[in-house]
């Protein structure tokens, strides 16, 4: 296996892990504030649809992205109202959002475009195109570092870089700002926050909105960066994989990046190496390679993560004592 193949694999890993990363960070904000959110999938899907639909009709990917973010934030608000204001069951609200998004996008898509729930293919400015980092072509011939810079780091869409930068930003917000401290406290011990004279509901709404924005970015990336248009149910369980990654990452931004990159890498390997010849053993069947990411997820989750402790007040609606 030479360097170029490794670089190509890692390149593919970055592309594939970006949507997971957005969803995982979205879940991180929400769950750190004590709101379980299994509606990540639905929010991404809604954003994917509306960003592709508006990008297709206006020809501008930025308008599309705004529409996608709006859709995702609206769904996040629904989740917030149900679980914060009305103190409903957060899991049920999340499931409802997933169903709603899955049905609504197909129905509205069929009604608008008459293409069986898909949007027209996007071209030109209606998509996020790869960004060449400065000097990428100039240093491409430099041994080792050249291909790493020009192949691996350069040539992704702008949202991939946004996703990567969101990781340190999240760490800084959560662990170095007053807002972050309060956000974490509200997920561990809302009574203490309330006693301190800070509104629990307000903080939780803020976390939910950030969650909506990040899911929106993930969805927009899927439909307008990675693919060129929306297709029915295109998130294909990525929201749930992000939740697994979140547990795996023990609700920490840095580990979340590693977890998402690992999932991305496993998927990239499964796509690229459909059958590997191992001497003495024979050919490893395709089916095994495709199941490998899931098998490894179970092994890692069961054996290597250790104890993952969720935020203590997670999933519990906060009721002020009377």
């Amino acid at each position: 296996m030479d360097l170029l193949i490794v670089v190509q694999l890692l390149d593919s890993m970055l592309r594939l892990s970006a949507p997971l990363l957005f969803a995982c960070l979205a879940g991180l904000y929400s769950e750190r504030a004590g709101i379980f959110d299994i509606g990540l999938e639905g929010k991404m899907l809604a954003s994917a649809f509306f960003s592709a639909a508006f990008a297709a009709s206006t020809g501008s990917v930025w308008i599309g992205m705004c529409a996608g973010l709006t859709a995702s934030v609206l769904l996040a608000l629904v989740h917030g109202v149900a679980s914060i204001t009305f103190r409903g069951n957060q899991l049920i609200s999340g499931v409802a959002i997933n169903f709603l998004a899955s049905g609504l996008t197909a129905l509205v898509g069929q009604n608008w475009f008459k293409l069986g729930g898909r949007t027209p293919s996007l071209a030109g400015d209606a998509r996020f195109l790869p960004v060449e980092l400065p000097f990428a072509s100039a240093v491409a011939d430099v041994p080792v570092l050249g291909p790493i810079y020009s192949e691996l780091l350069s040539g992704h869409t702008v949202l991939v870089y946004v996703g990567l930068l969101a990781v340190p930003a999240t760490w800084w917000i959560l662990f170095r700002t007053r807002f972050g401290l309060r956000l974490r406290a509200v997920g561990e011990n809302p009574e203490a926050v309330d006693t301190g004279g800070i509104s629990v509901a307000r903080l939780r709404y803020q976390a939910t909105l950030i969650c909506g924005l990040l899911c929106g970015l993930g969805g927009a990336y899927l439909a307008t960066g990675m693919a060129a248009g929306f297709i029915k149910d295109m998130t294909a369980g990525k929201g749930f994989m992000a939740l697994a990654a979140l547990i795996f990452a023990k609700w920490r931004p840095g580990y979340a990046l590693y977890a998402c990159l690992l999932f991305g890498l496993l998927e990239a390997i499964a796509i690229r190496y459909q059958s590997i010849e191992i001497q003495g053993v024979g050919t490893v069947p395709v089916q095994f390679m495709q199941a490998l990411p899931y098998i490894l997820t179970i092994i890692i989750l069961a054996g290597f993560v250790g104890k993952a402790i969720p935020p203590r007040a997670g999933g519990e609606p906060y009721v002020k004592e009377l």
């Binding site: 592309r15 293919s121 990675m226 693919a227 297709i231 029915k232 294909a236 796509i271 089916q287």
Partner: protein, 330 residues
């Protein structure tokens, strides 16, 4: 009075009987992937629409969403009086074999598979021949001597496409290397453009400069990735040259539309049995139009036409993967 009533009743029911047999609408069931997959199912849809435009009659249709709906869809249409009922895709084979005997008066047509029942008309295509022809075009056009193939679900039918393609490439360009990959092992592999484009990118990274897909809706991603990277894609089933003009070398056309239209026009009296549509019957072929004309040179054109004629007159035979589950070329 009662006698008149009885006569009336008989008359009305006779009328009703006539009415139902006249009104028996044909129906079509699309496979997972949907009728707008720009490929296989869409070709079937085109056929149904063309029949509707010619006859002015209506037809019923169902797009199934999950495996469980296959049987429900067939039974619902058959008990609702639709006749004939066409279904697109080999995945209906085992279910139709079980359901067809329950509706002996309904005529079924299955495309891409064979069901041995007295009321089933099975239409299969010689995809290996069509794939061979596009393989010849790819083998003569490639500059890097590496070409790719992206299949949908890993089933013998798709291996037949791959095998024909490989034979075509190797016959005209013995040094060429062919990268073959499948999208997955379940029907969702027909509708996963993101994965399709990722596989294509990996083939491009390995040096492929022409990628042929036989992957239904997944192929939308394959052709997109090929277009983005500035290499050539090859479409399948429908003529896909217009999707990215100048980036689609040609399309392996499989005239599912003709099969559907024939089945609809034949009505309930169309003979059952197995129909094989190959190059000779013009059931499969390659597409040429204004979008890909600049991509295919005169010599390539002559070479592929010569092989087409050879297949028709029997002097050239392309190996069919499904006859022995193996491919002589790789």
């Amino acid at each position: 009075m009662t006698r008149i009533g009885a006569m009336l009743a008989v008359g009305v029911s006779a009328l009703l009987l006539v009415a139902t047999s006249v009104l028996a609408e044909p129906a079509i069931i699309y496979d997972i992937g949907g009728k707008f997959d720009k490929s296989f199912n869409e070709s079937a849809y085109t056929g149904a629409e063309s029949w509707k435009a010619k006859t002015g009659s209506e037809y019923r249709e169902i797009e199934i969403q999950s495996e469980a709906q296959r049987e429900q869809a067939i039974r619902r249409l058959a008990s609702g009086g639709s006749n004939p009922i066409v279904m697109t895709g080999f995945s209906f084979q085992s279910i139709l074999s079980a359901v067809a005997p329950d509706f002996p008066d309904t005529k079924f047509t299955i495309i891409d598979s064979v069901v041995d029942q007295p009321n089933v008309r099975s239409v299969v295509f010689s995809e290996h021949e069509g794939s061979y022809l596009v393989g010849v075009i790819a083998g003569l056009t490639t500059k890097s001597n590496i070409v790719g193939f992206v299949g949908g679900m890993d089933v013998p039918l798709i291996r037949r496409f791959a095998c024909g393609y490989v034979q075509g490439v190797k016959d005209v360009n013995a040094d060429a290397q062919i990268i073959q990959q499948m999208t997955g092992n379940d029907p969702s592999a027909w509708n996963d453009p993101v994965k399709g484009s990722e596989i294509t990118k990996s083939q491009i990274a390995s040096g492929a400069d022409i990628v042929y897909h036989a992957a239904g809706g997944t192929g939308v991603g394959v052709l997109q990735a090929a277009h983005d990277a500035g290499i050539l894609g090859i479409g399948v089933d429908s003529n896909q040259n217009h999707l990215h003009p100048g980036s689609v070398l040609t399309s392996m056309i499989k005239r599912v539309s003709v099969a559907v239209e024939d089945a609809f026009s034949g009505g309930a009296d169309a003979p059952a049995g197995v129909y094989v549509l190959g190059v000779a019957e013009d059931g499969v072929g390659y597409s040429m139009d204004e979008h890909n004309a600049p991509l295919i040179s005169e010599e390539v054109m002559m070479a592929v036409e010569a092989r087409r004629d050879a297949i028709i007159d029997g002097s050239l035979s392309v190996h069919n993967y499904t006859t022995d589950d193996s491919c002589p070329a790789s």
